[in-house]
């Protein structure tokens, strides 16, 4: 997957978890909790959705690495690129 594809998929899952967000107005540097007002339950719902979509089970210790769309895209690109990764 290219970075653009990953970003599109990430934003799709994000706006599915928080349907009151507008994908067009979300900035790459927006903090999911501080700027976009997701709570911890939303974050977990997002992590579950990302696991289903990318086959990446993000451990809690890595949550800070998906704190913004830019960070998350880089993280997911890294995890899905590994040959040992699940199916990416």
């Amino acid at each position: 997957m290219t970075h653009d594809e990953i970003r599109r998929a990430f934003l799709e899952e994000l706006t599915h978890v928080a349907p009151d967000l507008d994908a067009a107005t979300i900035g790459g540097g927006d903090h999911l909790q501080d700027d976009l007002e997701l709570d911890s339950m939303d974050i977990l719902n997002l992590v579950i959705a990302l696991n289903a979509r990318f086959g990446v089970a993000i451990p809690e210790a890595d949550y800070r690495r998906i704190a913004t769309p830019d960070l998350a895209v880089a993280y997911l690109a890294e995890k899905t690129a590994k040959p040992a990764g699940t199916g990416g």
Binding site: D20, A23, S40, L44, I58
Partner: protein, 398 residues
């Protein structure tokens, strides 16, 4: 024959706009069936019926803004003969005349240009609050939009301006007015609560060392969908304490306090852009931690999508409001009538606690109980918070 009326949608929501009927005269309904959808400032709410029977007549029309208690339909018991001719006139018009003063500018009234909503057969008209506000701004009927959110809910991305974009008129309620109206409704409900309920407050800090260690061990290696959040442990501890301290769980009505055995714990969820909603998780004290966690995730997702049910809006016997995983140390709240208590907590965080005469840093959380002096007093309130503390020291038993 029984009159099916608009149920209470919570202390701070006194009216809703009928946007969909899911039944028609002649249909059989059962207790718990969703028969209509109303639109409120906090998203769409599915209205459930509480009698078994046959729908005799629909008394409310689509597009009407109906206060709590307004007649929606007549339900005939099974076996009862059909009425000859409807004697009563639709009550909606009558009660509309005494719309609560809490809503000086009825924001739920359709924009002047909007055409009457169409009768639909599609199941559900859920829409997120943001989608509703945008649709109102653009003068688009939600019934004309196909939803792509959870359960077919209409989400912001689905609401797009028509090709021939009508200039937004100043008469159309904008998002700012929408939120202002919600703030007014919350203010009215909270003012009434503070006027009628003699509040007292008790605060206690709980050591979360054991709970945190247990949670980390349990979550390690679990796939995301099986992970627990600290919020579920706090919620369960509150529910169990409520089950054993009757003075904090129930409703205060005209005849006084009615404690209830079942614990339907309201969970406060903040809405983006302001406001909050606190739907109930039924029998929260009897759910396993995994089931409670699942219910909390589901509730949060449906709050975002605007798909709550009327029973969830009015059945809470006690409410819990936590500040999540990050944030300030503590928060004190205002009781949501007709409940008699509200438990709030700050964000769990390392705090300086004294253990064996020495100051140590421990993960901890500060609970605050707001309770009703008509029912209990500080001594009992202290016991309630101590009970929550004890429960959290044995997380494996939650």
């Amino acid at each position: 024959m029984s009159v099916f009326t608009m149920p209470s949608l919570g202390a701070d929501m006194e009216a809703g706009k009928l946007v969909e009927w899911l039944v028609k005269p002649g249909d059989q309904v059962r207790h718990g069936d969703v028969v209509a959808v109303v639109e409120t400032q906090k998203g769409a709410i599915e209205i459930e019926v509480f009698d078994d029977g046959i729908v005799e007549r629909l008394d409310a029309e689509l597009g009407q803004t109906l206060p709590v208690g307004a007649a929606l339909a007549e339900i005939r018991s099974i076996g009862e003969a059909a009425a000859a001719a409807p004697a009563a006139q639709p009550a909606a018009e009558v009660v509309e005349a005494r719309m609560p003063a809490a809503a000086p500018t009825p924001v739920l009234t359709p924009a002047p240009t909007a055409s009457p909503p169409k009768q639909r057969v599609a199941a559900g008209l859920g829409a997120s609050p943001a989608a509703r506000a945008r649709a109102a701004e653009l003068g688009i009927d939600l019934a004309d939009i196909k939803g792509s959110g959870p359960g077919g809910a209409i989400v912001l991305a689905d609401v797009t301006a028509p090709a021939t974009e009508p200039a937004p008129t100043s008469a159309a309620p904008d998002r700012g007015a929408f939120i202002a109206e919600m703030r007014r409704a919350i203010a009215a409900a909270m003012t009434r609560s503070k006027r009628e309920i003699p509040h007292y407050y008790v605060t206690h800090t709980v050591d979360l060392g054991a709970a945190m260690a247990w949670l980390d061990a349990v979550n390690a290696g679990r796939p995301p969908e099986e992970r627990l959040l600290m919020g579920a442990l706090l919620m369960k501890a509150v529910a169990l304490a409520a089950a054993s301290e009757a003075a904090f769980n129930g409703h205060f009505g005209p005849e006084g306090f009615h404690p209830t055995e079942r614990v339907h714990l309201g969970l406060a969820v903040a809405l983006r852009g302001g406001g909050l909603v606190a739907p109930a998780i039924l029998d929260a004290d009897r759910l396993s931690l995994a089931a409670l966690m699942g219910a909390m995730r589901d509730l949060t997702a449906r709050v975002r999508a605007g798909r709550l049910r009327s029973s969830e809006m009015n059945m809470a016997t006690l409410t819990y409001s936590g500040l999540g995983e990050t944030g300030v140390e503590s928060m004190a709240g205002i009781i949501v009538p007709p409940q008699v208590a509200l438990v709030t907590s700050g964000a769990p965080q390392p705090m300086a606690l004294v253990r064996d005469g020495a100051v140590v840093a421990r993960p901890a959380v500060t609970f605050t109980l707001a309770a009703d002096h008509r029912v209990s007093d500080g001594r009992l309130g202290a016991r309630f918070l101590s009970e929550i503390d004890q429960r959290l020291q044995s997380p494996e038993a939650l």
